[in-house]
């Protein structure tokens, strides 16, 4: 990992995990994203993005599609592995070897952890991880960081509380370690069954970061700048009874925020079910729809950097 000097530094590289990016590289990408806020140049005209979604997704897939269209490029791919050769037993390695012939860059989402890393090893084209199981979701992390930086003017030293499903949420896993590297204070609030996995807690301890854990999500922590809320993900529970037990353990609404004498930033990767009340949509600190908007900007920057057309 090193310090990028120009946009060309990223050309042909993959984006698989936040662990592959240095602080300088992260800040450079956020700076480029800033340039793309109002950029209308068809920088990827004639280029093709392969959107390989082996696992369902609405936001990430459409966001990449929109980003590519805004850049003048086109998108092909699938949104459901059941309609592809994978359902006939084709290996991921073979699928990538075939698809790389049709495109200039690949986005892959897969339920198995490490699928994007393997795809990146196989492919001659740059690969972006659109989410691999409960592991990483680096473009979500970068758009979250971009949103935080825009709203707070910095990332360093902020106090961030994560609420909800910290066990299965790759969005949380991907973001939490990055924020730790930026010296943020972290509070982890979840039902005991959904606490951050031990290996990640150990990882944090090993880099000298201490996280405070709270196990009653109905009580919001007071000393924070950002509340990062997550959906309790029904589809990740091996035991549906367990899901029923924890699904409604917390809800953030106007009344819950009365404990704060200041505006607190409310973030959520979406989709939400009932963990953020609709009455918060016009709250000054609500940032979840801004995250969606920023997602397209950040993905435009990433696609352009990796294809090498900026």
């Amino acid at each position: 990992m090193s310090k990028p000097a120009t946009d060309q530094y990223f050309q042909g590289k993959d984006l698989v995990s936040m662990r592959d990016l240095s602080r300088d590289e992260i800040l450079y990408i956020l700076e480029v994203a800033q340039r793309f806020e109002n950029d209308k140049q068809p920088r990827l005209a004639g280029k093709i993005l392969a959107n390989l979604f082996f696992e369902p997704s609405t936001r990430t897939r459409l966001s990449f599609h929109a980003a590519m269209a805004r850049l003048g490029g086109t998108t092909l791919g699938f949104a459901d592995a059941a309609i592809t050769s994978v359902s006939k037993g084709e290996s991921l390695v073979d699928t990538i070897r075939v698809v790389e012939n049709y495109c200039d860059i690949i986005v892959i989402r897969h339920k198995l952890e490490g699928a994007a890393r393997l795809a990146a090893e196989i492919s001659q084209r740059p690969v972006i991880n659109g989410g691999d199981g409960a592991n990483q979701h680096p473009t979500q992390t970068l758009l979250d960081l971009y949103t935080i930086q825009k709203l707070h003017g910095r990332i360093e030293g902020l106090r961030v509380a994560f609420l909800g499903d910290l066990r299965y949420s790759r969005t949380v896993h991907s973001l939490i370690e990055t924020l730790a590297r930026f010296g943020c204070d972290l509070v982890l609030v979840s039902p005991p069954q959904l606490r951050l996995p031990t290996d990640l807690l150990d990882d944090m301890a090993n880099i000298g970061v201490r996280c405070r854990e709270e196990f009653d999500p109905s009580i919001l922590p007071e000393d924070v700048d950002i509340l990062y809320t997550t959906r309790i993900q029904k589809e990740r529970f091996p035991d549906q009874l367990e899901y029923e037990r924890v699904k409604s353990t917390y809800r953030v609404d106007r009344r819950a925020l009365e404990i704060y004498d200041r505006t607190v930033t409310i973030m959520h990767p979406l989709p939400r079910v009932n963990e953020i009340a609709m009455d918060l949509d016009d709250y000054a600190g609500s940032a979840y729809f801004k995250q969606v908007e920023n997602g397209v900007t950040v993905r435009k920057a990433l696609l352009t950097l990796l294809v090498g057309a900026s």
């Binding site: 991921l92 198995l112 952890e113 490490g114 393997l118 691999d132 592991n135 290996d199 150990d202 990882d203």
Partner: protein, 157 residues
Amino acid sequence: MTRELSDVEMRTIKVSALERGTVIDHLRGGTGLRVLSVLGLKEDEAIALGLNLESKKLGTKDLIKIENRELSQEEVNKIALLSPEATLSIIRDYKVIAKFQPELSEVLIGLIRCSNPSCIGNHEPIRSEFRVVHRRPLRVRCRYCERATNGERLELC
């Protein structure tokens, strides 16, 4: 210069001393058979195995002497994973020419099975790859699913 050895001396030497080969000493008690199994055997190798021997350092230890074999780095990695306290001695002409503790490589390829059932490495025909993130106590990270595992929970391929 060599001299003729009597039958009795030869039998003693087979067990207690090696003309050429490797002595793996100070294996954590109970790991000897596992180490032997992961090293595999060749037809021309004579092996002496001591189990649950008394050890001042470890309480009990296992010991393996292998004739005519010097270990590869991959084999040293395997021993380091199973018993990092072990001591390896390389013997030539009955003399110890090198003595060292097994040192793990930075990257371990094809040695460890990832314990995460959702790791792509357990679903596609690829060689496992782990990076050492901490040596003592041992902690390694899977290249694919990125999950870190502590040494005592590792499963060798």
